[in-house]
Amino acid sequence: MRRGALIHSLVPLLSSLLAIFGAFLVGGVFLTIMGKDAKAAYMLLATRALGSSFGITETVIKMAPLLLVSAGLLIALRASVWNIGIDGQFLIGAGAVGVVAPRLAGVMPLFPMLIICGLTAFVFGALWGVIPAILRVRYGLNEIITTIMMNFVAIYVTSWLVKGLFRDTSVVAPQMPSIPKDWRLPHIPLTRIHVGVVVGIVIVLFLHFMFRRGTFGFSLNVMGLSRKAAVHAGISVDRLAILALLLSAGMAGLAGANDVLGVKGLFQGEWNPAYGFTGFALVFLARLNGLAIIPFAYFFAFLLFGGEMMARTAGIPVFFVEMLEGLMLVFFAVSVYFERAVLRKVVQE
């Protein structure tokens, strides 16, 4: 029995790792076809991103938005609510902070200002989830489609606002006013890492606990596993579906605040980091497990940073990393298939 439990927890981890390995392998083949030295490129990725304190610092900084986005996806996917609108909610949250933060800077102390900014981003991100949530619950419309569509609306709405109403007219480029340095997210002492990472880790850990022990997390789990059973048990599934989508969207908005307040210092036109897809790859590879999300977030941040490095020094397109992520999902699907076969065999023994 104990051996069985061990296998049940080890095999999924192994298959996730195998998916990553497979993606790198096929990615290497593509690099070779492109005429690049795959081995050298990967070495560069490893040494630059892992081998230097600069690389590690940058990677950790990049973890923050990934953690927050993953937290949002974790809530939604556990409840079987498919929030594909992460990118739109992120932009709306970022845009809201881009508007609010410069106006609050200097008016009040840093701490309450950051709290207000975080709440604003959360609320605006969540607002972007309201329409899909209502459409799903009241009219039975699939949230996959509506959330995707809301992404496009978000891109153009923020782009319109940054070029119009909220434009900083003192500069040529379309952008909102920048936030003074002292009014951004403070750094962890002795590092250049801002506290967004800490917030992200705390939230992910909290969610992990919530899904393990919390009644709210349990309700979401039950609904995600069997909607019929949830209805039967007296869980109000409509209310939960709305909550899951709004919380998920709010987290995406919070990720937007993190990038504006911690990294960029302002909201720029045409800026769209599109963490949504990375978030999906990450959360699936982490098997919707809160604890696993943290190391996987580090790994994906490492890929993002390493990708930039490779682009700069080895001339490999930044899209290469996105391709790797895509390959990981493909290999993940394959390895889950084999994993089931392995586990079935274990059960039969």
Partner: protein, 527 residues
């Protein structure tokens, strides 16, 4: 081994000459974690014979069938066809050797036609000669007296007809042995009779029919040979001579003894009368509701159940019984009328309000709705109460309290499970039902709605469930018992009503009605 039934010469009857053995299993053993599902089982299945595998749920019937069908590989033992040893790695290999299986859950594509379903997977080439297939199918159909258009979409057919398409499918593939896994469990009594006629025709054509059931009456009705399984072992066999010559009564006693060697059989006792002074616990007033597709499912239902009373609802499946159960449990909105539980109005107030007012609901959709099979036994045990103390405090679940509660339910209801934190889906249907009943009764309901509480359960578990319901009613619970099995209803109910096309035709006191009347009403025939 192509079967073209019409042209095939009939097999000699077994009185003149024993039929050749077709399929033989020798010493089949199959183990699953913690259980030996088949323990050294040997079996001889002859062509031209209906061979029944009889046993309780969990006796090992389905495992044995899956081994013969190539779905599972035995740990020990051999399978022989006409004396030659074979081994199947998959159901396809078994099919190629002439062993076809009709599973409990059909393997048809609902939006394909009958003929398309029948040929599906048989053609290896690029082209599909449906015309030829249709002709062949027509011969088989007329021979078996199965009149259905080959172009009918399978999804539009009744369950009984879908089953016949499954049978045609395996015959079309040339099966000489047909395995049927609990084929009668999904059928109405009339459909069962029709199925039996088909099986008898197959037998006459020399096909070996393996009929799996846990219903003794069916086994005696149709079998040429009955093999009794219990707890994974082959207990004994009743051959054709005995079946033909002995009286049904003594045969049935003999087989029951085989099946329940170590069990004592007790009758469910019902209380004779209900005190009419008792409070009306559940009251429906002119209740109407729609089904999932938006058509009227129940119409102007009015009745009440007193404390301590069991009202049985008879009816052919799909006449609004499920919807009736769901409106009382608060799971389905009603379009008209009023529902009160112990004088509390719960009309359209939802599941939680109904449960709070005192409704317990044992649904017939055990795995799909009542529980989450991928969660643990304990999590399922508190599925309806996890938000209450002591199972959670300040929104945090208290696993110790949950485990203690679950252990109590497991002990009191004799649920067989490795532990509280085992995945529920690994338990047998009977044990899941016991847990379910335990969970609902732990809510201390004033009104218990049971929809087919014994469906698919073995004899012992059925008796346990019925006895539990009766004793709860004797302590003052009001019970609505929905079932399509008249035996159950007459055994337990104080009053019996019949649902037909969404309406409650009549509610009789049990003593003033007989099965025939109720049976006729179920079919909509008013005396």
């Amino acid at each position: 081994m192509q079967i073209t039934i019409a042209e095939k010469p009939r097999m000699e009857t077994k009185e003149t000459k024993p039929s050749p053995s077709v399929l033989e299993a020798r010493g089949i053993t199959k183990r699953f974690p913690g259980v030996v599902a088949n323990d050294n089982i040997s079996l001889l299945i002859r062509g031209g014979e209906i061979h029944t595998l009889l046993g309780e749920n969990g006796a090992g019937k389905s495992t044995l069938m899956n081994v013969l069908a190539g779905m599972l590989q035995p740990d020990e033992g051999r399978i022989l066809i006409n004396g030659a040893e074979v081994s199947f790695k998959s159901p396809i290999e078994a099919l190629e050797q002439g062993i076809g299986t009709v599973y409990q859950h059909f393997t048809l594509v609902p939006n394909l036609s009958v003929v398309e379903n029948v040929v599906l997977g048989t053609s290896r080439g690029m082209t599909l000669d449906l015309k030829k297939a249709e002709e062949q199918l027509a011969i088989m159909q007329s021979h078996l007296d199965m009149a259905v258009s080959p172009h009918e979409e399978v999804g539009h057919l009744s369950i009984g007809w879908q089953q016949r398409v499954e049978i045609l499918k395996v015959l079309y593939r040339g099966s000489q042995i047909v395995l049927l896994d609990e084929p009668t469990s999904v059928l109405t009594p009339i459909e069962v009779k029709e199925l039996f006629q088909i099986l008898i025709r197959l037998k006459a054509d020399g096909v070996g029919v393996v009929f799996i059931t846990h219903k003794l009456d069916e086994a005696l009705d149709i079998s040429d040979r009955v093999t009794v399984l219990s707890r994974g072992k082959r207990i004994g066999e009743v051959g054709s001579h005995e079946l033909a010559r002995q009286e049904r009564e003594s045969l049935s006693r003999k087989i029951v003894r085989m099946m329940f060697e170590e069990c004592d059989l007790t009758e469910v006792h019902r209380k004779s009368t209900v005190d009419f002074e008792n409070q009306r616990m559940c009251r429906l007033n002119e209740v109407s509701a729609f089904d999932d597709r938006g058509t009227v499912a129940i119409r102007n239902l009015s009745f009440s159940i007193r404390a301590g009373e069991i009202i049985g609802i008879a009816g052919v499946d799909g006449n609004g019984q499920k919807e009736m159960a769901e409106v009382i449990a608060g799971q389905r909105r009603i379009s008209d009328g009023q529902i009160t539980i112990a004088n509390v109005d719960i009309t359209n107030k939802g599941t939680a309000a109904a449960a709070h007012a005192g409704v317990g609901y044992v649904t017939d959709d055990r795995l799909g709705e009542a529980v989450v099979p991928t969660l643990t036994v304990a999590e399922n045990a508190v599925l309806k109460v996890f938000q209450q103390t002591p199972f959670s405090r300040f929104a945090v679940m208290n696993h110790k309290a949950i485990e203690a509660h679950t252990r109590g339910l497991i002990r009191d209801f004799n649920v067989k499970t490795p532990g509280s934190w085992t995945k529920l889906g690994t338990l047998s249907g009977g044990n899941i039902q016991k847990l379910l009943l335990a969970r609902e009764l732990a809510l201390r309901p004033k009104v218990l709605v049971c929809n087919k509480p014994t469906h698919g359960l073995d004899f012992m578990t059925s008796q346990f469930v019925l006895q539990t319901i009766r004793s709860q009613a004797d302590e003052g619970m009001a019970v609505l018992l929905i079932s399509s099995e008249l035996e159950v209803l007459f055994e337990l109910s104080d009053r019996i009503g019949v649902m037909y096309r969404g309406q409650l035709l009549e509610i009789y006191s049990r003593d003033e009605v007989d099965r025939e009347t109720v049976g006729r009403l179920m079919l909509g025939i008013k005396s």
